[in-house]
Symmetry: C2
Subunit: 306 residues, 2 copies
């Protein structure tokens, strides 16, 4: 107890009732708080307080966790999002992306009705870039192709998931790492925008490009996410995949990844992005001097609810 001459306080500190304290934090939000933000912060506050109570998390442990978060922020810039990676290894982005499917599109309604073939979403991951250039139909996005790479002709049709009609002028944004497991922004030996490109669909809803067969790679291990994986006795590898972001006015933008059926780690992706219907087959391609493999990858977008 802190005491002084004129202080007539009780002899010991009051232990606040835990839920009462939590609710006092929630109640501190003012009248002008946007309703959605109030809803989110209320739930977050209650869950984080409950987490601390449930685990008897002490200040030393709390500070260690916080230092991990600050470290992630310090490592993050335009080219790297370590906070996102840290979230990904705990499955948070995957969980949020499921919510997109439920909230932003007709998927949830259609799924229960019939055999509508909406492409599943997968997490964005930390390596997407907003400034990737638009490339020509059927052109390549592999420029510094290493000797061990297998070039693939990657193509497909973008359709309306409800009507099945092809969608022209849809934007297909594709990115992948090289065979050393590094994206171009991580690797000084790759030119800028290597293995990434934006493509538009033609009048038949088709897109086409040249890329490479993807390889498994470890997520970066020099930051807090790598440290946490190590502490949790987990491997850092991702199964071989190619990232897609497909958009078209009037449709829910689809962020996804496709996975090579022959890759390792399909059942234990370090960032929990795999879904069984996103597994694809690279097949041998003959008579094309530019590629030895063919990959057909069709994408069905959900119309937005109006």
């Amino acid at each position: 107890m802190v005491s002084n001459g004129t202080n007539g306080e009780k002899p010991h500190g009051q232990k606040l009732d835990a839920s009462k304290f939590t609710e006092s934090v929630v109640a501190s939000m003012g009248e002008k708080t946007p309703e959605r933000l109030r809803e989110v912060i209320t739930s977050l506050t209650r869950h984080l307080h409950a987490f601390i109570l449930e685990t008897n998390l002490n200040t030393k442990e709390f500070m260690a966790g916080l230092e991990l978060l600050n470290w992630a922020g310090r490592m993050s810039d335009e080219k790297r999002n370590e906070g996102l990676l840290l979230s990904d290894i705990l499955g948070l982005e995957r969980q949020a992306s499921e919510m997109d499917d439920l909230v932003d599109s007709v998927t949830s309604h259609q799924l229960s009705m019939d055999n509508v073939t909406t492409t599943s979403s997968a997490i964005l991951g930390p390596f997407w870039r907003s400034d990737t250039p638009l490339r020509e139909f059927g052109s390549t996005m592999t420029f510094d192709t290493p000797p061990d790479a297998e070039v693939a002709y990657i193509h497909g049709v973008v359709t309306d998931a409800v009507t099945g009609e092809p969608l022209k002028n849809a934007l297909v944004d594709v990115w992948q790492c090289s065979t050393n497991g590094l994206y171009e922004q991580q690797d000084p030996n790759q030119r800028e925008f290597n293995l990434r490109g934006k493509f538009t669909t033609n009048d038949q809803g088709q897109y086409a490009l040249y890329g490479i067969r993807p390889v498994p790679y470890p997520v970066p291990s020099d930051g807090p996410a790598g440290k946490l994986l190590q502490l949790l006795d987990r491997h850092p590898f991702r199964p071989a995949h190619i990232h897609y972001m497909t958009s078209k006015e009037g449709y829910a933008t689809l962020v996804t990844q496709i996975f090579d059926r022959k890759t390792k780690y399909l059942d234990n992706d370090s960032v929990f992005a795999t879904k069984s219907d996103l597994v694809v087959d690279f097949v041998p391609l003959k008579g094309n001097p530019n590629a030895t493999l063919d990959l057909e990858c069709n994408i069905a977008l959900s119309p937005l609810q109006s």
Copy 2:
């Protein structure tokens, strides 16, 4: 659906059962995970997944929250811990500090037994420095005293909370901001270590120093914590307080703050640190040329459980 010639997948993406997905993340921890870490990460994962499900948090909102966290990390360095401040305005450090009281000391046992007078804890906050110098008994820690400051003689006895015996050679680390609301590391016009000092208790368990009457101040508003307070329609002010960290071998280190009874914001501290038994009274002091106020502040430490 992603489809190609040899892919015989189901016509639509499987929506994983939410709790099944959460448990698969928990199950990904390897055998070598330390048990305490497994316990903490399991609870954290479940609560964060539940938060996302409960609020239908979508990717856009998730990314906005993540950017706030990365921003906090980027702002943090040896002199500023914005991640801690962000946690503090949600009451997280307060919640964890309650756990310290329960876990690290005999408090919980003693409290239920008798009128043991253990001093309550309060949060550390982001302005403590590890390298504060040791100062002489009865010396001053206010060097750049502004004209509007009231100098106070601050003194008290550090005792064993169970026996009531005075503790000699306890370390009393004290820090406070100046009347402009800034700690020395935030203010180029204050000399280094102004208004902070470490003091040791004498053979009678006493410590003594000169400081100033504290003032309310707003937490920094130029970062994510300030932004969030604004969005939540909350004021950024803290009630006038002085920080204490008191330690002695064999006792639980006590981190606390004392609050001026006459200050504003005693009932709505922006970081939820106040406790009623930590409220103290500054009283007029006569006959001392160095100070106009007197503050007696006694501290009772809990013996560690053996």
